[in-house]
Amino acid sequence: MPYIAGVDIGNNSTEVAVAEFTRSGEARIVSSSIVKTVGIKGTVRNVLGVIDALDRALSPLGIPRKDLGIVLLNEATPVIGDVAMETITETVITESAMIGHNPSTPGGMGLALGTTIMLEDVAAASPDKQWIVVIPGSTEFRVAAEQLNRAMSAKFQIAGAIVQKDDGVLIHNRLHHSIPIVDEVVHIDRVPVGMPAAVEVAAVGKTVEKLSNPYDIATLFELTPEETRNIVPIARALTGTRSAVVIKTPRGDIQERRIPAGKIKLIGRHQKVDIQIDEGAESIMEQVVKVSPLLEIQAEPGTNVGGMFETVRQVMADLTDQPVSAIRVQDILAVDTLVPQRVRGSLAGEYSLGNAVGLAAMVETQKLPMQRLARKLEEEIMVPTIVAGVEAEMAIRGALTTPGTKPPMAILDLGGGSTDASLITESGEIKSVHLAGAGEMVTLLIDKELGLDDLELAENIKLFPLAKVETLFHMRHENGSVQFFHEPLDPRLFGRVVVISENGPIPVETREPLAKIVEIRQKAKKKVFVHNSLRALERVGPANNIRLISFVALVGGSALDFEIPRMISDSLIEYGVVTGRANIRGTEGPRNAVATGLVLAYEEKQRN
């Protein structure tokens, strides 16, 4: 039996290591390969990917498949994770009462107070009052400016204007007296007339001062302490914008509403705890630690999280041919986040930041139907196939081929659905753990916090660095370096923040500046990966102590991420742990750990 192959079927990739047996019974790994996993891990459809991976590993050696003596599969631990988000607060406007947004070019500057009136009614208005004129899109800017001028010279007091189209500067430039003008107000028809209103436009590069301060709003509209309390959400929503309008309507009401997000039930070996999701991630995670070891987590039906729990359990039940009732959610990770939400009842499509909690769940069962998969593979390729070793053990065996390591060593595998850690002690004992929350959670956080509603784009933002296209011929990368191009860039990219994906730059359609997007990306990675790495290492560490682990090696795809390894190493350095990307067999980098481990384990068994 000269050649053998170790095969690792993971959630994302299928990896192969092919070894040649020397006369002395030593296995020498001569080739390896990696392909995308076909189908959900553990299903017979995986066979397609395995055959592809085997062929790729064998082709440089010029060996046909049938010459393989044996194929070794890993005993995959079935772990499935999923994510969901519950919004806890939202801003609701009953009766229109505020406009706060960032039209790129408002007109004029300063603060104006008056009563709202339609442009067509100005001529018949009272001359003793200050007016805020509402100009619909059907009126051309020259006509609007002329009518305003006529009204001003006839001693009508025009204090400010609210304009539907992007005409603010054009109107302002044609007025005899400067007034603040807010433009690009899409739903101008919803602006109530005959109501007291304030318009504020800040200088370029500044943000509104008065209308973002509840006491200034109270001063302007002579509000009672009760009313002042109610306008706090307005002031908060207007913070950071360059122009704003606040209108006081008799029944007008803006509320920051708390949305009932339901509760989750933590069932530990020794105690049970109910916790409201809207208490926030910190207290949820505190309880998780307190109740641990966890046996099961239940979520309230009818909530987003409840729905997500059901889906995960259903998928796992289908996968392993078990009744859904036998599948339990065993771990959760909660993360606090702020999501931009369209203000309900808004006039210009304003957004306000609402609080939300992101939750990742994980289910784990004892065994996948790997035997079925092995039989199917054997049938297809006519090579004896066996399930040869447990994933976690094989991974750590493979990882130990990294030069410069020895037990006690831990490996961290930051996947898509779960964060996995294993530890091997000096005596060779192996302990492993799977935790909820990994790559998919990071993608979700990026998507929600940027308000993209596009998971593919969010995924790209997670995976690749950003750049700003500054001219038609160059872009500045997020690290400050400048890249020039010989051909002009797509005008659609001009002036935009782009993700440098594998398929070239993709524009990120948001007004957030590059630095803000980088911050959101890095925070999401820290909240999930760094937090989970510490959580996982604590669980597997001797006496639950990270300090007693000497070496930590990162394996799997996320070890190749351009910033995650550094973040984890930064946080582990204070525990005195050597942290780095694994380098399997000194050649493979963080890939091929399990496949390598399978071959090594088989060799050892043959020898004994």
């Binding site: 076909v38 189908g39 299903t43 017979v44 459809r45 947004h101 960032n102 039209p103 790129s104 070019t105 800017f141 539907q164 189209k165 992007d166 005409d167 603010g168 500067v169 054009l170 430039n173 690009e184 899409v186 289908d318 369209r342 210009a348 499509g349 304003e350 957004y351 940027l450 308000g451 993209l452 509603d453 596009d454 500054e470 001219t471 038609l472 011929f473 002009p488 005008p491 659609r492 001009f494 002036g495 935009r496 359609e509 948001t510 007004r511």
Partner: protein
């Protein structure tokens, strides 16, 4: 000409007789974006050359060529090759909305702000609206590349296989 080279302006070169009304639309676009412009009447010339000449002579590197006779307008940048203007407005786009957008884009090109591609974009303020545009492009199968089509096909086949597997 000497004057315009000294001042930082977007240059607009027009063939005679100059289309006053249409130039006005372009100027509105520039004005709303707060970038100054200067107009000059010149001899009849191919429009691409005219626009390029306008851009080359502008301190801001941005120029527009316009012809009332041909009902066409081009936006050019000094760094672009003469035969590749950034935007060309054809006769059926020679209207207020499009020309005003051309003016706004000339200004945005100077400022380094994202360009406008649909006039309705001027009214959108949230990220959702522009997303919609992207989405539409994705939904149009004609715009899918060979690779994307292949991927799509694979997905469909896998989906079918899963279905059959479940039923069995």
């Amino acid at each position: 000409m000497a004057g315009s080279e000294a001042k930082p302006v977007v240059r607009i070169l027009t063939t005679m007789p100059s289309p006053e009304k249409e130039i006005g639309y372009i100027l509105w676009g520039l004005e709303e974006e707060e970038i100054p412009a200067e107009i000059e009447e010149v001899e009849e010339k191919p429009l691409k050359i005219l626009a390029k000449q306008a851009a080359d002579g502008s301190k801001l590197n941005v120029g527009i060529g316009i012809s009332g006779t041909d009902q066409m307008a081009l936006l050019h940048h000094r760094d672009l090759p003469a035969d590749k203007p950034l935007f060309s407005m054809t006769a059926d786009e020679f209207n207020m909305t499009q020309l005003r957008m051309l003016g706004a884009n000339a200004a945005r090109l100077v400022k380094g702000n994202p360009l406008l591609f649909h006039s309705e974009q001027a009214y959108s303020s949230g990220p959702k609206d522009s997303m919609q545009l992207q989405q539409n492009a994705l939904n149009d199968p004609a715009q899918l590349s060979q690779n994307q089509l292949g991927e799509l096909l694979t997905l469909v086949v896998i989906e079918l296989l899963t279905h059959i597997e479940r039923q069995a």
